[in-house]
């Protein structure tokens, strides 16, 4: 049982990641709760997709580099999935 479990529950990065994956990587709304369970299949897949797209090391984990990149200003090109 992690000692910092309570802190992790309040980790704001989960919301940030959820919104980011929804906005830019077509994360379906119905799996958004999975973001809190970080090792769930759809989320890991989306994180890997994002890391590949950003030229980062593809780990499927929310490492420091990935979180830092999510926080940087970017282009919000409309989600192309909606147009297909």
């Amino acid at each position: 049982y992690p000692l910092n479990g309570a802190v992790r529950e309040k980790d704001p990065s989960t919301d940030l990641v959820q919104v980011h994956l929804e906005n830019y990587y077509d994360l379906a709304k119905d799996v958004k709760q999975c973001v809190r369970r970080r090792h769930s299949g759809p989320v890991v897949k989306k994180i890997r997709e994002m890391q590949k797209c950003l030229g980062l090391e593809v780990t499927g984990k929310l490492d420091a580099d990935t979180l830092a990149m999510i926080r940087r200003p970017r282009c919000g090109v409309p989600n192309v999935g909606q147009f297909t």
Binding site: Y24, K52, C53, L54, G55, M69, R72, P73, R74, C75, G76, V77, P78, N79, V80, F83, T84
Partner: protein, 377 residues
Amino acid sequence: TFPGLPKWRKTHLTYRIVNYTLDLPREAVDSAFEKALKAWEEVTPLTFSKIYEGEADIMIFFAVRERGDFIPFDGSGNVLAHAYPPGPGVDGDVHFDDDELWREDKSGTNLFLVAAHEFGHSLGLYHLADPTALMYPVYNPLTDLTRFRLAQDDVNGIQSLYGPPPTSSPDGPAGPTESVPPEPGTPAMCDPALSFDAVSSLRGEILFFKDRYFWRRSRWYLEPEFHLISTFWPSLPSGLDAAYEVNNKDTVFVFKGNHFWALRGTEVQAGYPKDIHTPGFPPALGKIDAAVSDEEKKKTYFFVEDKYWRFDENSQSMERGFPRQIADDFPRVGPKVDAVFQEFGFFYFFRGPLQFEFDPNAKMVTHVLKSNNWLYC
């Protein structure tokens, strides 16, 4: 590219700036957009013209938060802008988040960089994973605006949709030692109209600079080598103005705009670039056209427009009595020159597609040749 590969079916596109940000003067906004479109224009057959009313192919808006396309902006930071792939209506349009602080430089969000990226979407490109590419999705405030150019991935992407610009020569440079494969936009070595940006010796070889490239003529090889400047000196800009070698220092100095660099072999020396005014040029001088060092007399000549200055390498100072008119002391080579270097005791001046062999002792032109004569053309 976007799903379905949307692209424009015409090569002339219109754009309209529907409204302006208050962060910048209107002229600065116009200029940023013109420059951003030009970046794409240079590598494709596409051309752009601005219209002031009616529906343009690319409609440009500054807006905040929600404004009708159901993809609201988010205030300062994070999303800076977005754009739609080619097509009618909202497609092709570009929206800038006016909660950002738009700037001409990097003190805020640079409008040119973001616009160039978004226009890439308007033309049909999606995102690239190469962090050095313009179409990388994350804004890079460290991009050097003075050396901005599209990455090869950007060029490959847009040319896969529209092809190269019509002025590109299909003839790349030939030769077994060629190091850069011919690609659209590459200067052709034996083009009779070829001119050079700068020419310099380097450790017994001669370098002919043109745009992003240079030819390297060595006595050891029958064919000149052809390289990207960035392959040898990644931090140098393209489109150099001037270059010259000081043999006894084993250093080549190269000039672009109001900066110059010192190269020793493939190394750019520490402390460079320096301001070109350091050696004693007047503050108003904006760039050097050509330069050459006379090893025997320990003098370096700097050519600017129709004048030239002379620098004494011994005293490391600009000589009195300069600038002088090029036409007075180098008859027939001017009034302006693109490049110059010294070989066999002669100065070889380049002006457009012509080259003038000048005997400094007789003070006269002894031969007029094609500029690419040194490349065995």
